[in-house]
């Protein structure tokens, strides 16, 4: 007897789990294969998730979700060699339920999410790495793992930034360094009372801090710090291309050590114990670097498709992973109704994404990487940061407003004139 699944999902990160959860909720036979010991085991993220954009896609999920702290305080620090400027923003709107963003530890969240998907009926098998795809009559018809063939009407590639599955399906070509950043992160354990004290947090509140400038030696990227319940996530993200080209030949672990040793940071992590160190690649090529999203019998979601972006002040990928996983599932459900899993039918996935915040954000921020490469943006106008902060951080349920109107609202004529050069580029964001 040959078992055939409605869908096989490769990768149990947020995209894959989102797809599995959605498909299983509709009663489809879905198998998710994850190479890690369990979902979340090795998934690296900075640690902040915005819930608004995906709240309605998973209505039952949020109440008990094991988030860490809701973000009630935002800070941006511009670091020069020997000094830094910090802007803190703690609007009341950040403290109202439903909270717009949370700090999150993936090892905990993904495992819990996997359990929820299993409860809906998804079959999840861990410690199974997909090695290849099965082709039948020119279409993708399943996967090969550990020499074993498993068949399905459709395969959803959710295997993260270096997606082998999308590559084998011919939907993506090997990456170009300029489309990627590398991130390192440590989880540093501290007593909750110490965290609350150091960051001036009330019960349950969390802080998000971003650092730019000297931390990356002027390279495109930045540092981040999120407070969890009993730990701090501290990390650094740097463009791979700039890292390869940097003349000082400085390497990321060294940069990270220096970052940790900055007096501003050292004071925040003092007495903490590093519980986890990880490094990971982040897609940040934006719209232009997205893979093809579908083929005959296959869809691509999450980082695998390129759905993460770094707009200089923050990395976002988790909501896009959750949303693209959701839409991929919806597309499969439509295809099953039709009994047709061809590229033509599955193209509805792209249509759904286009009318959602996902593609609209990506189109809006098409030029972001290139503009924000210019360090002057942070050095010349630090005061600008405070003004645009609230709007910059607000992530609405719908697509995010373009950066330009946000910026313009806060600028007088005098500055504008001086900025004209940079602004021409900023306007493209």
């Amino acid at each position: 007897m040959e078992e055939r699944f409605d869908a096989i999902i490769v990768g149990g990160g947020l995209a894959g789990l989102g797809a599995a959860y959605t498909l299983a909720s509709e009663g489809l036979e879905v198998l998710l294969l994850e190479r890690g010991d369990y979902s979340g085991a090795k998934n690296v993220t900075g640690g902040r998730i915005y819930v608004n954009p995906v709240r309605d896609m998973y209505p039952d999920l949020w109440k008990k979700a094991p988030f860490e702290r809701f973000i009630a305080h935002e800070e941006v620090t511009v670091m020069a060699k020997e000094r830094s400027i910090t802007v803190r923003y703690s609007g009341e709107e950040l403290k109202k339920e439903p909270y717009q963003s949370y700090s999150i530890l993936r090892a905990k969240f993904d495992r819990w999410f996997a359990k929820q998907a299993e409860r809906k009926g998804a079959m999840i098998v861990t410690k199974s790495k997909v090695d290849d795809l099965i082709r039948e009559n020119g279409r993708i018809a399943g996967v090969i793992t550990g020499g074993e063939e498993l068949k399905a009407d459709v395969v959803i590639a959710c295997d993260g930034v270096l997606s082998l599955t999308a590559e084998k399906a011919g939907l993506r070509s090997p990456g170009n360094p300029k489309d990627y950043a590398v991130g390192v992160k440590e989880v540093i354990e501290l007593d909750p009372a110490v965290i609350e004290d150091r960051f001036a947090l009330a019960d349950g509140e969390g802080a998000a801090r971003l650092f730019m400038g000297e931390v990356t030696k002027g390279m495109f990227g930045g540092g981040f710090l999120y407070t969890n319940k009993e730990s701090i996530s501290l990390g650094l993200v740097v463009s791979i291309k700039e890292l390869m080209e940097n003349k000082q030949g400085i390497e990321i672990p060294v940069m990270f050590e220096e970052f940790k040793n900055r007096p501003e940071i050292a004071a925040l992590i003092k007495g903490g114990q590093t519980a986890e160190y990880s490094a990971h690649v982040i897609p940040e090529g934006g719209y232009k670097a997205l893979t093809r999203l579908y083929g005959d019998g296959i869809l691509v979601a999450g980082d695998a498709a390129g759905f993460a972006m770094n707009i200089g002040v923050t990395v976002r990928g988790m909501e896009y992973a959750l949303a693209s996983g959701y839409y991929a599932a919806k597309a499969v459900i439509k295809a099953k109704e039709k009994g047709d899993f061809s590229a033509k039918t599955l193209s509805i996935y792209e249509d759904m994404l286009k009318s959602s915040f996902v593609m609209r954000d990506f189109i809006n921020f098409k030029e972001a990487p290139h503009v924000l490469e210019n360090p002057r943006f942070f050095n010349y106008y630090p005061e600008l940061v405070g003004n645009i902060m609230r709007d910059l951080y607000a992530v609405p349920a719908g697509p995010k407003e373009k950066l330009y109107p946000t910026v313009k609202r806060y600028l007088g004529f005098k500055q504008l004139w001086a900025m004209a050069g940079d602004m021409r580029k900023v306007m493209k964001i």
Binding site: D37, V125, K127
Partner: protein, 249 residues
């Protein structure tokens, strides 16, 4: 004849973190001890060679066991006999031995009980011996090979300085070393089928009197302090220099 394999659910040791010298178990997934997996493989091999009818995994632990057991069922066990109790995870050997023995008495036609030489976390190597004593069966420890011939088992036991080949009559208790075999990694299909294999679940308090007197008191359980330099060197030459500078070579 059926073969019973005793397997202990333990926290995945690779994922235990140490905080202030204390082990932290939060969110650490559960699995079976690796030598117990060798014991299972040995049982499954006997069955595959037509020397046993069924392989039944016997395990005592908390309710997570219902999930963990899938691993063993996928790796070739036919059935599971689970004894659940909140305080059974990490209970002491004397209690576990009584609980397991009570379970064995409910399983039909047991010819052989296989144990790991030591559990993955405690590694005290007592449970198998204690069960053998309660049952009054012969035991052979540290088996590197097991053959069944009629109502006898021929076991090669691996000692520090010799290999000893012995013959015992069945039923018997045998504990195995990790070198006895390489435990199979179940395929996805086997994992999916594991959910459907029969499981007998007994609550601990349904068993006849278990004497739960604590025979052992733990004063402390701390990770040793360590402070290592962790200097990253770039080349062999640099490594040699460093070691020379410490007068080590």
């Amino acid at each position: 004849m059926n073969v019973v394999v005793a397997m202990k659910q333990i926290p995945d040791l690779q994922q235990i973190r140490i905080k202030n010298r204390q082990p932290v178990f939060d969110d650490v997934p559960l699995t079976f001890g690796s030598i117990d997996k060798n014991a299972l493989e040995a049982g499954v091999n006997l069955k595959e060679n037509g020397l046993a009818d069924k392989v039944i995994v016997l395990s005592a632990g908390n309710e997570d066991l219902e999930d963990t057991i899938k691993e063993a069922l996928a790796a070739g066990a036919d059935e599971a006999f689970l004894i659940l109790g909140d305080d059974l995870n990490g209970a002491e050997s004397s209690v576990i031995a009584q609980v397991l023995t009570a379970g064995i008495k409910q399983i039909e036609d047991v010819g052989l009980i296989l144990f790991g030489e030591g559990s993955g976390d405690n590694y005290s190597g007592q449970v198998g011996s204690r069960v053998a004593e309660i049952l009054g069966w012969p035991q052979v420890g540290y088996a590197g090979a097991v053959k069944v011939e009629g109502n006898k088992a021929v076991v090669t036991r691996v000692l520090e300085d010799a290999e000893e080949v012995v013959e015992v009559s069945l039923p018997a208790v045998i504990t195995v070393v990790s070198g006895i075999n390489e435990a199979r990694i179940p395929s996805v299909t086997q994992i999916l089928k594991a959910g459907k294999k029969p499981k007998e679940i007994v609550e601990e308090d349904e068993l006849d009197e278990i004497n739960k007197d604590a025979l052992i008191t733990t004063v402390s359980n701390l990770a040793p302090e360590s402070d290592r330099k962790r200097v990253v060197v770039k080349s062999t030459a640099e490594l040699v220099d460093k070691l020379k500078s410490e007068n080590m070579i």
